[in-house]
Amino acid sequence: MMRRTLVLMMIVIGVAMASAAAADPRDSVDRGDRLDTDALRDDVGTNRLKVPSHPLVIVPPEQPGATSNRTKSKKSSASGSGGH
């Protein structure tokens, strides 16, 4: 009886230790970091795409003489930075 109890306790402790090992918080952190690195690579790809004008976007009328500088600025910053 005593021996059975001891074996049972050993099994319970073993399962608990295995669960604790599987739940190492560093693994969750590493998985998140891997997704972050992939996200950064994805940004390089998606930033090169041009978002088409959406029909719901209301474009203000062009203003002669006041738009050239703004257009230049937008083009130069059209692609994202900082990975988002």
């Binding site: 560093r26 996200a39 090169r48 795409l49 959406h54 209301i58 910053s77 930075s81 900082g82």
Partner: protein
């Protein structure tokens, strides 16, 4: 219950921008120099083969996984050179066999970018929720503060897009708190209007600060080459082969990984 934590800020963001749009006056827009903010959805889908699904030093297992990465963004300008972006982003990895590697992230963020003589300086705040499994169990919640500088250089049919990024992560999980430095170089060589050769070599350095990771320092080196076909200006397919190595002062955290697969990038 935890998913509602993620959804609430999303609904708030959508509601706030809706109210903002409702307050716009068309008469004001005809005389204002500040453009109207615009919505967009961008993302990628990529089935990928990896020879190290657990990204383990010793337990190398091959597998195939799907990664989806979709963002909804609101972009606008505060003046000619200062732009902002509010975004919500969902990204997950779903493995065919090694389910322990499944992971997902929900992000909400904002970015301010100053355009100075072609250089883009950004500060970014991101509130993020990391999950074990595909949005199964919430693992930790973090707040990232980032600063970056980037620029595009174009010479004939070659575009180079270097980016430097520094991040500090505040988190409710001690092991997740860390500094990270990224140096990325986006390279695109256009062969013709549809076809390009692309590459995104990158270097990352991590300095973990707390918990079981206190004192841990990682370095990640990654090189890839791919062939891209552009269906349209907002849709492209890229097939890439990538090799990645992580070194660390914690020996068990070192790994190397080879990945091959197509990726569909879209924007609308």
């Amino acid at each position: 219950m935890r998913s509602s934590i993620v959804l609430l800020p999303l609904l708030g963001l959508a509601g706030a921008s809706g109210a903002w749009a409702a307050e716009l006056n068309l008469a004001d827009m005809t005389t204002s120099n500040v453009s109207v903010p615009s919505w967009s959805v961008v993302g990628s889908v990529s089935p990928t083969f990896t020879d190290n699904a657990l990204f383990s030093r010793d337990d190398r297992r091959s597998d195939v996984y799907y990664e989806t990465d979709v963002s909804a963004r609101l972009d606008g300008y505060l003046n000619n050179d200062l732009s902002y972006r509010l975004y919500a982003r969902s990204q997950y990895d779903a493995f065919a066999t090694e389910k322990d590697s499944n992971a997902a992230i929900a992000r909400l963020g904002g970015r301010l970018t100053e355009n100075w003589d072609g250089w883009r300086f950004s500060i970014i705040y991101e509130n993020r929720y990391d999950f074990d499994g595909v949005y199964r169990d919430l693992a930790f919640i973090s707040n990232d503060v980032m600063g970056s500088v980037a620029r595009d250089f174009r010479v004939n049919n070659v575009t180079l897009s270097p980016l430097l990024l520094l991040t500090y992560r505040f988190s409710d999980l001690a092991e997740a708190r860390r500094w990270r430095f990224d140096a990325v170089l986006g390279i695109e060589v256009k062969l013709d209007p549809k076809w390009s050769i692309v590459s995104t070599p990158l270097f990352e350095a991590y300095w973990f600060t707390d918990g079981l990771n206190a004192g841990r320092q990682d370095q990640l080196y990654s090189a890839d080459v791919g062939l891209r076909y552009s269906f349209a200006s907002n849709l492209s397919l890229t097939t890439t082969a990538l090799y990645e190595v992580r070194t660390s002062n914690v020996a068990v955290r070192r790994y190397r990984d080879l990945r091959v697969g197509p990726r569909l990038d879209f924007a609308f």
